[in-house]
């Protein structure tokens, strides 16, 4: 099966799939994460596993929307960074446009995960 020119491999077990990313290597997607958790916790309803995973990510987004920081030791920290207002330029026309001050999400990898990525 091909999607956008990349081959898509679908596992026979319970319908999770691995997608090939344009950068090479595999992608893990939300549904696969849910499936792994469901496989490990057969006493939970699939519906509840979905809610658990969604709650974790929604809480992080919600906290940042309130300007809070989310610190997950070993994994990393999500925070909000302020970008000052600036004069930007439309790259096509060269026209100046003022860009308002804005806040953007930021993630810093935790030490343990950074070390694990490098074979530590």
């Amino acid at each position: 099966m091909k999607i956008f020119g990349y081959s898509l491999y679908e596992s026979s077990s319970a319908g999770w799939k691995k997608t090939y990313s344009p950068l090479g290597g595999y992608h893990m997607i939300r549904s696969e994460l849910i499936q792994k958790l469901a496989d490990e916790n057969p006493h939970l309803y699939q519906r509840d596993v979905e809610r658990i995973v969604n709650t974790v990510f929604d809480e992080i987004t919600g906290a940042m929307a309130k300007g809070h920081r989310v610190e997950l030791r070993g994994f990393g920290a999500f925070s909000v960074k302020k970008r000052d207002a600036r004069v930007g330029r439309n790259p096509r026309t060269g026209e100046s446009v003022s860009v308002e001050e804005k806040h953007v999400p930021f993630f810093k990898t935790g030490k343990l995960l950074r070390d694990r990525l490098n074979g530590g």
Binding site: T61, M64, H103, L117
Partner: protein
């Protein structure tokens, strides 16, 4: 903008109240979610959570760095770094929620 910091415990509390599992089990499940994401990244996979964002791994080449204090040259070994690219939805929510 307030300086409140959430931790695993807050995520576990949210799971506890949203799903109704015990605090203990909620904490274990939050940990499992983070572990699965970490393990995939360590295997070299990127992790794409729709409407949240994408964690991906990049290989950095070796280069010569410099100790900014002493000016001394130090070799920086090739290494893998993790980058997080927030989804548009997250960017919009964070921008809207922090508007002054």
């Amino acid at each position: 903008m307030s300086d409140k910091t959430l931790t695993r415990m807050d995520l576990a509390d949210a799971v506890h109240s949203q799903v109704g599992l015990s605090r203990n089990e909620s904490a274990d499940l939050v940990e499992s979610v983070l572990d699965h994401v970490s393990d995939a990244l360590v295997r070299g996979e990127s992790v794409k959570i729709s409407s949240f964002g994408t964690f991906s791994i990049r290989d950095k080449a070796a280069r010569v760095g410099r100790n900014p204090k002493t000016g001394e040259e130090v070799p920086i070994h090739p290494r893998r770094v993790l980058t997080f690219r927030p989804s548009h939805l997250m960017k919009d929510k964070v921008a809207a929620g922090n508007k002054s």
